[in-house]
Subunit: 522 residues, 2 copies
Amino acid sequence: MSSNPTIAAGPSFSDDKRITELRAIAGEIDDIRSALRLLSWDQNTSMPEGAGATRGEQMATLQGLIHDRWTAQRLGELLSELATPIQKAPFTDADRALLRETRRERDYAAKLPRGLVEEMARVEALSFEAWHKARTNNDFASFAPWLARTITLQREVADRLGFKATRYDALLDLYEPGLTSERVDALFTPVREVSVKLRKRIEQSGHEVDASCLSGSFPAERQMQLARDILTRMGYDFSRGGLSISPHPFTTEFGSPFDVRVTVHPHEDMVDDALMAALHEGGHALYEQGSDAALARTPVVGGVSMGAHESQSRLWENAIGRSEAFWRGNLSVVQAIFPTEFAQVDAATFSRALNKVTPGLIRIAADEVTYNLHIIIRYEMEQAMVNTSVAVESLPRLWNEKYQAYLGITPPTDSEGILQDVHWTSGFGYFPTYTLGNLYGAQIYTAMRASVADFDERLASGDCAFALDWLRERMYRWGKTYLPEDLVERVTGQRPDPSYFVEYLTRKFEQVYDLPTEAASR
Amino acid sequence: MSSNPTIAAGPSFSDDKRITELRAIAGEIDDIRSALRLLSWDQNTSMPEGAGATRGEQMATLQGLIHDRWTAQRLGELLSELATPIQKAPFTDADRALLRETRRERDYAAKLPRGLVEEMARVEALSFEAWHKARTNNDFASFAPWLARTITLQREVADRLGFKATRYDALLDLYEPGLTSERVDALFTPVREVSVKLRKRIEQSGHEVDASCLSGSFPAERQMQLARDILTRMGYDFSRGGLSISPHPFTTEFGSPFDVRVTVHPHEDMVDDALMAALHEGGHALYEQGSDAALARTPVVGGVSMGAHESQSRLWENAIGRSEAFWRGNLSVVQAIFPTEFAQVDAATFSRALNKVTPGLIRIAADEVTYNLHIIIRYEMEQAMVNTSVAVESLPRLWNEKYQAYLGITPPTDSEGILQDVHWTSGFGYFPTYTLGNLYGAQIYTAMRASVADFDERLASGDCAFALDWLRERMYRWGKTYLPEDLVERVTGQRPDPSYFVEYLTRKFEQVYDLPTEAASR
């Protein structure tokens, strides 16, 4: 007897023997992928610097093994045999998703020769080492040759995958199936407009937010304890996860939903950086940990797209994690670890401080109003790198010019500029999914608030479980069973629509900055 | 121009195209093995408890991939083609070792079906989880079924590998090529005799060693710093290594000589446990880091046998790391981290304390006089498990009876008894190599002292580089180029001979306990 009879049964695979065989093949691939991710996670958290070249070989070998398996003849036969019958009973939605994701992986592998895949893995490992050193030493010139190799490889990938309009579209599709530059441009227009408009309204109001409580001296070890405690409050399961330090925060999994880990990077002069990274990466991790165990060791487990993934990291980080209600329920966690610093700070002050709008240099530290401008800059840079023959040496200047144009500031060093993100050690096309995530996230958050009575009161009681349950039930446990836009519709009752984000951002910052209410441009 | 023209050229492979192909195949296998070791290392250091079953699947899959490659037809053809020509020029000693090690791996894989290898990997991962919990909860019963499964699997391995006298011989051979119970018995006899004799002489002398300086309150974090500093003093290269905490100290590599890491386990009530583990694991790691880079990504890289490996861990831990000369040069490192505790302690006192003979329960904390008795107990237990049908439930009693008989003490809990070592989560046959390592180590140490003028004075100056260079030049850089007994002869000028250990132990403890000199039983 279910304690909640209205909850639908979760995803499940049929016991058709071809599905069983497909799962066995996919399971082996998933195991190798988990090992590959561990090689990468270790490189980010523990690996000694002298091991970069060796690690590159190891990752290339595992990439090659995965490639061989996706392109194997028997897998092709299974996909053909199942193509027609899969649409009907006894096949399930999970079966259909398994077939769809397998076909997608196989198509990708078939188009990219094993040698290219291995070369990409090798270059990524070495490029990561070069980037890490270059960022430490503020030395873009030493990273430039690696970025040039990545550009060359990514162009080759795009050419082999094929595209209608621009090479860059082929790369976008890798992270968000079907996404094109044309669609990104359409989505980014209202986002850019509302960002610029809100920034101006805030500047013109003359209102200031006092964020001084966030600065001071915060030992890294205590910040890690804070990150751990907040993750626990969110409902992150440490018995199936872990928290480490890496140069750039990230979430990774070695077999979802059973092993999903996060990293942060504390800076000792500010309390909010690692804290908000914990909420952000925690959102990703809750999504992965929330997959139904029936989907484990298949390509259907885990987040359905990068956009869907970012919707959850941004929802937990921003919509929940910067709200006054959340801090009414959780500021005591901060006060327990930094009692002197926060004894006199209340939830309203803390929340307002976390929402201060300051055009800054660092994407992951950006406020919600300017965040998407950081993404737009990267999006435009990526288009230039992939679609045009821009010289690598000119990229730092291009970066700095764009920061001046969009945010009114110029990075004093490349470490705070073009070298800040790890992403370009592996490829292009990921960044736009952050903004897509903001759009999906706002729509899902709006739906959740509308369906949960006393949302703010429950959050303010220190309870996050009700929100996690809501999201798990409707979204997380399904993994990749449904395509991203279909999933958003299942969760919210509507196709993805950027106006939810415009409305969310406008109402939120009118409140934070005490602005007169305006009709949002929906 | 070499700065030292007397140093022979290091190992190198010929450019015969069959050797190149063999190295390519072996390189791929080495990459998968490194990934497999990382899965295991992560399980020991970072993996969440909920991921045990998933990790078991991943390890089984990678074991299966390795198995397929060792048994592939093309590899068999290459080995056949090279069998005769390999003995002459232009083939090198490294080529011959490559062929020998490849053949050894292939034979092993050919005799063990893939299903068995995968099952062993799966059981090992789950058994490790069970052991870790059982040790924490002092609950042997919960580990017993896993130990029973390991016994069954190890018997099957022995039966498939084949043996002349006893099943256990087949397992010994895995860790030390050619080793048999008969040979172990012969080697253990003088070891047991000198251990028992020395213990009696020490007891009868009535002399006491004051080891009180080693007990107190030593925060784990500062112990980790001490371990790090001592590893640095030994010449361990952190740019190709790393130090972590795990339940049981160990050394592992993910592509020697470029990534060789150690773990320790600090206990806050004693300073010497993690410290001596750092010296022990550091010895293993120096051996791995010392392999010539030309051997990387081949089965010839790294220590040639477990006995050879233990010879180096024991040489660094005991012969060097417990000597007064070493602490004259390095006690300042301890004093810098624990100034209050060690301000009044001198090197002679510290060294004597580290050599106190106390029959204890824990193998890795045992003194040199009683250490081998711990090994003999395990050796006899393993023979019982593999060669006879002893009931798993009776093993804790058998363990405790043997401790009473050999060491005069009975473990109050199984956590301090039969559950103390991780080894039986994977198999049997490893333990005797510890004592073999003590024998090789004493012989190598004796040769080194004889060939280096002012050995103690140089050690007392804080210099370990001269000893590391001596060992690297003669032993480490050759990897598995020469078989263990041949290697010992190349290093020392003589075949392995247990009398060096007997002499070393006798002279050392006559000095520590101020005993009258007796002729050692050489």
